[in-house]
Symmetry: C2
Subunit: 192 residues, 2 copies
């Protein structure tokens, strides 16, 4: 890992722990045992660092969603999206958390770009639910409402999920998939 990557990784950890504005460039430097000013031979500005972290996370979420075969049955498609979302969240925890929480501190252009990518990502969920509704597999009054609901549940997971905690990623995925499909009216074998 080169210095630039180390800086981005360290910044991601700190932005997640303390937030973008509460983290100073000197905090990042201290973790790497160098002086704050030395960062600037590798990076351009604090905002550029935030941008790269957020954009990298967006890449990961989008790549995953785009890899889902749209010819699959809607339940399978949604299941794949949920699994992928949770996998990316857990694998990139700091970056994902920063993506969800700190993107709004980007200004102008960068902010708009990231909003577009978020919308593109959410569209994968909306389209899948819409397809399931059309195929009468999902029973849902408002597609937008349902996809907001499910995405909300998924989005919040970075807040509490602890890879070392009592749930594995597999267990989380299995239960969240079941809860989501059920919320859309899909009948599953009951597990009391």
């Amino acid at each position: 890992m080169d210095r630039r990557q180390e800086i981005l990784t360290t910044a991601g950890d700190l932005f997640r722990e303390n937030g973008y504005h509460a983290t100073s460039m000197r905090d990042i430097a201290k973790r790497l045992d160098i002086r704050g000013s030395s960062l600037y031979s590798h990076i351009e500005s604090k905002e550029q660092v935030l941008w790269e972290i957020v954009n990298e996370a967006a890449d990961a979420f989008l790549a995953q969603a785009e890899s889902v075969d749209t010819s699959l049955a809607p339940e399978k498609r949604l299941e794949a999206l949920i699994r992928g979302h949770l996998e990316v969240t857990v694998k990139e925890l700091p970056n994902a958390a920063v993506f969800f929480h700190e993107w709004k501190f980007l200004s102008g252009d960068l902010r708009e770009k990231i909003i577009l990518r978020r919308d593109a990502y959410e569209a994968h969920f909306r389209k899948t639910i819409k397809a399931g509704k059309k195929a009468s597999v999902f029973k849902v009054a408002k597609v937008k409402m349902a996809s907001l609901y499910i995405l909300s549940a998924l989005n919040w997971s970075y807040q509490w999920f602890d890879p070392a905690g009592s749930f594995s990623l597999d267990a989380l995925t299995k239960h969240y998939t079941e809860l989501s499909l059920r919320s859309l009216g899909v009948k599953l074998k009951s597990k009391t």
Copy 2:
């Protein structure tokens, strides 16, 4: 509204828009057309302001949850909790957003106090779901997982809900209640 309340309200708005650390005391003062130093005859410190905002929101959420009659049927209890949660979120949007997002910038004692109150709040959901599971009204594999799922979906709503937007609070409540009950395996009249 006295000056102290005005300061808290203004601070809540700004903390929501820009975050606690990105908001300076002078920003708050500017909105009230006074100098930053003048704030200090009404408040003790910036952290105390954050604490009061967060704690006020916690009061509102807890009061609502505690007012739900525990002798109701589990579906009705959960419905009341969901309605109450969304009502408080929408009515106190800035404070609720700060409660969800900025509480972690509290230090020591205050931080621990708020964590306890959050846990107490979540317990209302867990207990209701557990009661429903025992009564075989809810079909749920892991109570903790299911309550995290539903609370996550609810918690995220402050991120996107716009009182002036295309959904009313009533519509939001109705749909989220339906989605939540269904996710727990409750059968509802289907709405395609």
